[in-house]
């Protein structure tokens, strides 16, 4: 393993911050400026020029666009995401609560995906071309094809409607967290983990299969080393960096997956908030949820870059979401 030079690490972090700023500009322009005047929409048939001017001044929409943007960004940095023109309440507290719920869901899914993905990936990749490798590859290829909402629908039909074991929607009582009723987490986590686990297993399988075909592993096997020691001493150490990178890139995946899965189960997370805000044309909420989700995705990507820098300089990144496969 090589430790990244501080200079390169700093450059990567600066790049990530610059990208996030660029995203914030695009987001603000796309949501606040392009769709037209939010005040006329919010007031609807009660619109009069005086009322419009009043609400516009109240929401700070009478300033030039650049000033509005800077004021918004300044607020965001202080944790103030502005006031929604649709609901007329500050968005910050809602975003904070929703983000907490999403973290619970995503963390549970992440752990399950990591265990399943690395486990099955090792199991299949240690013996490339074997029967178990082909079986795992066939199942994971099929699973990675199915959109989360379709998986979730099937799970709901079976476990909620047919068997009645688990709730079909994941409502969280106001004032309590999702952990007070763990049953509501099961189906959303399963929906995320089936795709994520299958994808991770495929990536890990590829990494491990490359290494397992190498001469040092063959030599260890010929020398009669037990299989678990071959894996632990000769395969895992060289695979660890790439596997860690695969796991870091799960973060952007979970951001995208949360958009769909939270909506399916009406789970009160940030992804469902974004989807419903887009539907309600609530610009301030779209900006807030969009920016936080983008920041999380960029952070995951940054970690992956830093890991790549550490463990395998010059080696092609295995898990770049190439080929349009990663969601």
């Amino acid at each position: 393993m090589r430790v990244p030079t501080p200079g390169r690490a700093l450059r990567l972090v600066a790049g990530a911050v610059a990208l996030l700023l660029a995203v914030s500009v695009v987001l603000f322009v796309a949501v606040q400026v392009l769709p037209g005047d939010p005040v006329t929409q919010a007031l609807g048939s009660t619109y009069t020029p005086e009322r419009g001017a009043q609400l516009r001044a109240q929401l700070g929409l009478d300033a030039p666009v650049a000033e509005q943007y800077l004021r918004w960004l300044g607020g965001v940095l202080r944790g103030d995401f502005g006031t929604s023109a649709v609901t007329r309440v500050p968005v910050g507290p809602i975003v904070a609560e929703r983000a907490g719920n999403s973290v619970v869901l995503a963390a549970a899914a992440f752990v399950l995906i990591a265990v399943l993905g690395v486990g099955f990936g090792l199991f299949a990749g240690a013996r490339p071309g074997s029967g178990r490798d082909r079986a795992v590859s066939a199942v994971t290829l099929t699973l990675t094809a199915v959109p989360e909402f379709a998986l979730a629908t099937v799970l709901v039909a079976v476990f909620a409607f047919a068997l009645g074991w688990l709730p079909a929607v994941s409502l969280v009582a106001p004032g309590s967290g999702p952990l007070s009723q763990p049953a509501i987490l099961v189906l959303p986590v399963a929906s995320l983990a089936l795709y994520g686990g299958a994808y991770t297993a495929r990536m890990v399988r590829g990494i491990v299969a490359d290494i397992a075909a190498g001469p040092h592993v063959e030599a260890a096997r010929i020398a009669g080393l037990p299989e678990h020691l071959v894996l632990r001493r000769h395969v895992l150490p060289s695979a660890a960096g790439s596997i860690a990178q695969v796991l870091a890139l799960l973060v952007p995946y979970l951001v995208g997956g949360a958009l769909v899965v939270e909506t399916v189960f009406a789970y009160p997370g940030l992804g469902a908030l974004l989807a419903s805000a887009v539907r309600a044309r609530d610009a301030v909420q779209v900006e807030a949820a969009g920016l936080v989700l983008a920041a999380v995705a960029i952070a995951g990507f940054l970690v992956a870059e830093l890991i790549q820098d550490r463990s395998c300089p010059g080696r092609a990144v295995p898990m770049r979401p190439a080929l349009g496969r990663l969601r």
Binding site: G36, F149, A150, T153, A157, L259
Partner: protein, 271 residues
């Protein structure tokens, strides 16, 4: 003998894998004409279970589920195909150029396209939808989201052939750049170009289906994914209204994915 047998098995397997995709394509063309009822016609009460004349019952508004299924292939087939075609218009020239000429411009294109890989595509799409972009722009964005991956893929494929003798020969003979691209590179790279389009189709179908499910279908009309979303509440009253479109989506996406994977595997030389 066994060789003939395994070959036959392989053909049967391919036929099985390809059937849902072919069916979806056929329904895209002919489905609306086969539908027994008009898609928007109310033929019963909401969520009516199957009965004679309505083999899969009715949906949340009391419309015929079978007619919806026959008509709804269009929404999940046409837009992805269009998006892939648009994406190829950008990805193929960029991939070939960056693979052939590794100068400063190529590096810039690569770095720029990597930026697009950072954000989850669905997040980008929701923001585009939130800006009330017209349908054409949404389709274009779906197409563009696949471009960065394609550029990397095609660039690698191009670099493998670009430094072989005959391209250098063409340069030496004085062929013009565009001629080398279209006459020398594209024919040799037809396989990778097609495979890349197939892989991009997988991603586009996923994005269009998920977007439709969330209620933001790029084009209106019935659509398997929107049917799943709309009938989710009636799962206990008429399960067919929910499960039939769900199974159509699953069969179609799995089929497209397996076909693209076979294409890619064939190119890698797997048998």
């Amino acid at each position: 003998m066994t060789r003939i047998l395994t070959r036959r098995l392989r053909i049967v397997g391919l036929a099985l894998v390809a059937t849902p995709t072919l069916l979806a394509a056929a329904l895209t063309l002919a489905g609306p004409h086969l539908a027994p009822h008009r898609v928007d016609a109310i033929v019963g009460i909401p969520y009516e279970p199957a009965r004679t004349g309505l083999p899969l019952g009715t949906d949340h508004l009391g419309r015929d589920v079978v007619s919806g299924l026959l008509t709804g292939a269009r929404g999940v087939v046409l837009v992805p195909v269009l998006a892939v075609a648009l994406g190829s218009l950008v990805a193929v020239p960029l991939g070939l150029l960056t693979g052939w000429r590794s100068g400063r411009g190529s590096r810039l294109v690569l770095r720029g396209s990597e930026l697009l890989l950072v954000l989850p595509p669905l997040l980008v799409l929701l923001i585009v939808v939130g800006s009330r972009a017209p349908a054409a722009l949404i389709v274009a964005v779906i197409g563009l989201l696949g471009v960065p991956g394609s550029v990397r893929y095609l660039r690698a494929a191009t670099a493998r052939v670009a430094h072989s003798g005959y391209i250098e020969h063409a340069i030496a003979v004085g062929e013009r750049r565009t001629a080398i691209l279209t006459r020398e590179l594209v024919p040799v790279l037809a396989g990778p170009i097609l495979t890349d389009a197939g892989l991009r189709l997988v991603g586009s179908v996923y994005l269009v289906a998920s977007l439709s499910f969330l209620g933001f279908a790029p084009v209106g009309g019935p659509n398997w994914a929107t049917m799943v979303a709309q009938n989710a509440d009636g799962g206990s009253l008429n399960p067919a209204a929910l499960l039939a479109p769900g199974l159509c989506i699953v069969a179609f996406t799995v089929s497209v994915n397996l076909l693209a994977d076979r294409l890619a595997g064939r190119l890698r030389g797997d048998r």
